[in-house]
Symmetry: C2
């Protein structure tokens, strides 16, 4: 698939998973794409844990639904009723979770480009996630990033030691199709804003 | 360009800039690709400042060279001599810096998906950077991410208010060609490791 097409067709997928297992070769290409991301000082500070066991998926889903309720409790009026229509996860339906972690120790103490910006390693992990997401889109596979969770709970679930920080739970799976319009736009939560809203010339203009 | 080709050909560019200005339509497509990235709660929390003024480029470059010296001062033996061959920036040669910032206020207080993970907005900004980088690669444009700087210095340079965090300075410019092999591998700083080093099944295996 053409790059610009992949960028345009990529969706945060929640309701469209069919549950059909992903071809292992396809999954391999998607993960290889992630591993080819840029990383500060070539540190490749990412960790991927593929989770398929039903008990683990269900346990994570229970936690996510609790956190969904925490967020909902802070909403009122139109925001509350709009949010009630939004599906925030496809953890069990997708059949596969890819837990992405940040391991700052992969390249020793002296990571080129990280002495002044400690979070540069964390940024690299996110670049890998976007490569994964675009590759999945090109393969016709859906990806949904779930962030309704507490990091300590996810760490415990997949056995991350204290130095590894969980960055994402990605629901990854076969889909009937990818929606044309993002869910949050479709359900009236929030629409997209144009590039002009974010672009400044020479200096930030407020 | 095919997505997988863009992923494979993307390089962190430092020495290959020609200084020829980028076609405005090309730059527009690259920035639009960034603006189409996924973002938590559709918050699009990114800010882009395009910097071309010579005085600003030179001022930032001076700061980066100071920080390069700070990092070098902590190296010894082979690491020190290997690093001495590594070029860490192409700030003036590229002719264009794109400063990317994270603005947590773009979508109000209640950002869907950010109540439990405060950094989810920061992650979104990184996804936008990877879209930008791949689009530039597809357009034959070089991108070099510079992270040898102190955030406060960069904020001051482009006028970010305290609530906007600088995430990257990207040198963006026309290149003679993109290197086949990453600089850090070519200069013997560090090679790439295979996916298998990062991949775990069901639980993190140490």
């Amino acid at each position: 698939m053409d790059l610009y097409e992949a960028i345009a067709r990529r969706r945060d997928t929640r309701a469209e998973f069919t549950g059909e297992p992903i071809d292992p070769d396809v999954l391999g290409r998607i993960l290889e794409a992630a591993n080819r991301a840029p990383s500060v000082g070539m540190s490749q500070p990412w960790v991927f844990v593929t989770v398929r066991q039903r008990a683990t998926l269900e346990s994570f889903r229970s936690h996510v639904l609790e956190e969904r309720a925490v967020f909902a409790a802070g909403l009122e009026g139109e925001r509350d009723s709009t949010f009630s229509r939004v599906k925030v996860e496809g953890i069990c339906e997708s059949g596969l979770g890819i837990v992405v972690g940040y391991d700052p120790t992969t390249a020793g103490e002296q990571v080129l480009g990280r002495h002044a910006i400690a979070d540069a390693g964390l940024y690299s992990v996110c670049l890998a996630i976007q490569n994964l997401w675009l590759a999945a889109t090109a393969e016709g596979i859906g990806v949904g990033w779930v962030s309704f969770y507490r990091e300590a709970v996810l760490s415990s679930l997949v056995g991350f030691p204290p130095h590894i920080r969980p960055v994402a739970w990605l629901c990854v799976g076969t889909v009937a199709s990818l929606p044309e319009v993002p869910d949050l736009e479709r359900f009236g939560w929030r629409g997209r804003s144009p590039l002009s809203a974010a672009l400044h010339d020479e200096r930030y203009a407020g």
